[in-house]
Symmetry: C2
Subunit: 305 residues, 2 copies
């Protein structure tokens, strides 16, 4: 299952240096998950020609404006475009009331339903689960309740080795093989031994989105071996006191965490406006963890598993 992450916004606090507020789009086959939705995210969606109708799930990490002020506009636009499909929104306590109040004041009765899923602060919680994927919250350490999101593919079935399996099989027989069983005919004779007839599945992918937070050393356990991790890196190392005071992280801290958790790729974002040129920040991270990247608007990061 191919997964692709597209960055729609990367700046913290204010718009600056052509950088927008935080938003990301995770494409898991035909499912689009939006993660955070700062003001003007709609404009970015238009710019990058993303099909609005494909977005069925929106995760909001916390209620600082640079992470959700674009949500109401998106909700309205989906309505204007005649959407009929449910929209699932996953957010902290308070968000549901903010949405309802604004819909009430505009006397809007949406053509579609918002299914609101309030996540519980300060504890990991499965907020999404289908046959292929789970999404679990990652409690973070910010000034207000804030969660990251861990997207985890479910373990995959084994593949059929077509060089070995040459007989015609029923779907039920194929399933047995893919589930790791040996295959027998109706008389009980061994047709295929599983270890010969199948190949091991690819490892399930993991993408973790770590929104605004102080460094949490315990995250090593949660992130261990993840294919790709986005971690905020508002500041560079010389500002690490300010990072701690404002409940943020430095690029160096994020890189050390990535190294310790032995992840695949680290994506840096939520940049302070003070940094027009982000290359020094990138170099700082890469000096510790080589597979560090800037999660800048428009960039796409692919995991093929």
């Amino acid at each position: 299952m191919a997964i692709e992450l597209q960055i729609l916004g990367s700046n913290s606090a204010a718009f600056a240096h052509n950088r927008h507020h935080t938003s990301q789009l995770l494409r898991v086959q035909d499912k689009y998950f939006m993660i955070d939705c700062g003001e003007g995210t709609q404009l970015q969606i238009k710019k990058y020609k993303i099909k609005l109708s494909r977005i069925n799930h929106i995760m909001i990490s916390h209620l600082h404006g640079d992470h959700y002020y674009g949500l109401m506009g998106l909700i309205s636009t989906l309505h204007l475009y005649g959407r009929k499909t449910d929209l699932h929104i996953y957010g902290p306590p308070g968000l549901s009331e903010i949405i309802s109040l604004q819909l009430k004041c505009s006397a809007t009765r949406l053509y579609y339903d918002i299914k609101f899923h309030e996540w519980t602060p300060n504890q990991p919680e499965v907020i999404y689960d289908d046959e292929k994927l789970t999404v679990t919250t990652i409690p973070l350490d910010h000034r207000i309740h804030c969660s990251g999101f861990l997207f985890k593919e479910k373990p995959k079935k084994r593949g059929i080795n077509k060089f070995v399996v040459t007989k015609s099989l029923s779907p039920a027989q194929v399933n047995k093989l893919r589930n790791g069983e040996d295959l027998y005919d109706v008389e009980g004779n061994l047709l295929y031994k599983n270890e010969e007839a199948t190949i091991p599945p690819k490892l399930p992918y993991t993408y973790a989105y770590c929104s605004d937070t102080r460094l949490i050393p315990d995250l090593i356990e949660t992130l261990k071996g993840a294919d790709m991790v986005y971690h905020e890196s508002t500041f560079m190392d010389d500002m690490k006191d300010r990072a701690r005071d404002t409940y943020h992280t430095t690029a160096k801290q994020a890189a050390q965490l990535a190294k310790d958790a032995n992840i695949g790729k680290l994506l840096l974002g939520h940049f302070s406006t003070r940094y027009r040129d982000l290359n020094p920040m990138l170099r700082e991270a890469q000096s510790i963890f080589k597979e560090s990247y800037l999660a800048i608007e428009g960039e796409k990061f692919v995991i093929n598993t």
Copy 2:
């Protein structure tokens, strides 16, 4: 007093054809009045290099998102920039609660005070008054409570005719002349006859902002002789039934109103996304009222009085 209006957004409902949501900036000498504040207005402010700190008054016409979803972002940005001066917001019932709830959820204690002025729906009301200017609401006919805003300069004092007034006068004496009085010396002898010593003041200017509304023929009285009127014109004439059904106006209707009220300039805006090319709409308006203009983002309209 020179007044200049700059258009920051002109499209209705959704972003389209590089047109933003409704917002305007009225500059009255050193005072900046923002009128409506659709999502992304901050970006337009940046684009047009407008000094944020100069904006002390924001008028919101109604609570449809395309007229106010940029307000929270602007409030936050002013806070981040360290603003200390009061910000005056004039809006319909409900807006104050929307702002308070979002500030509460983000645990934000602003560095400055918001002075909220709730206007009363369905009746004209003076919402701003200083020594030079009044702003009065214009009740409109929309799906939800909606007001326009009438900016009216106060009558000016007469000017001193320097060819006639050659004696040195005290400020009090100058004021008497400017107020239309004749001037006598302490013995009661006529120094200057007012009609000879002064020249008539320029006429005070009027700018009216007529936000989303059905055509209101009675507006002729309110707008009579105004220097400049912005009136929404969401649709062209062939869509006049749809305009009425959706509580909007056509360009032709707005132009007829401008003609009947004998105004100076008519600015058209709040264009439906169905019109990529707005020239046919402009021509339709100009066929009735020649001084019709498209109020497109970036455009400036000046009244020198």
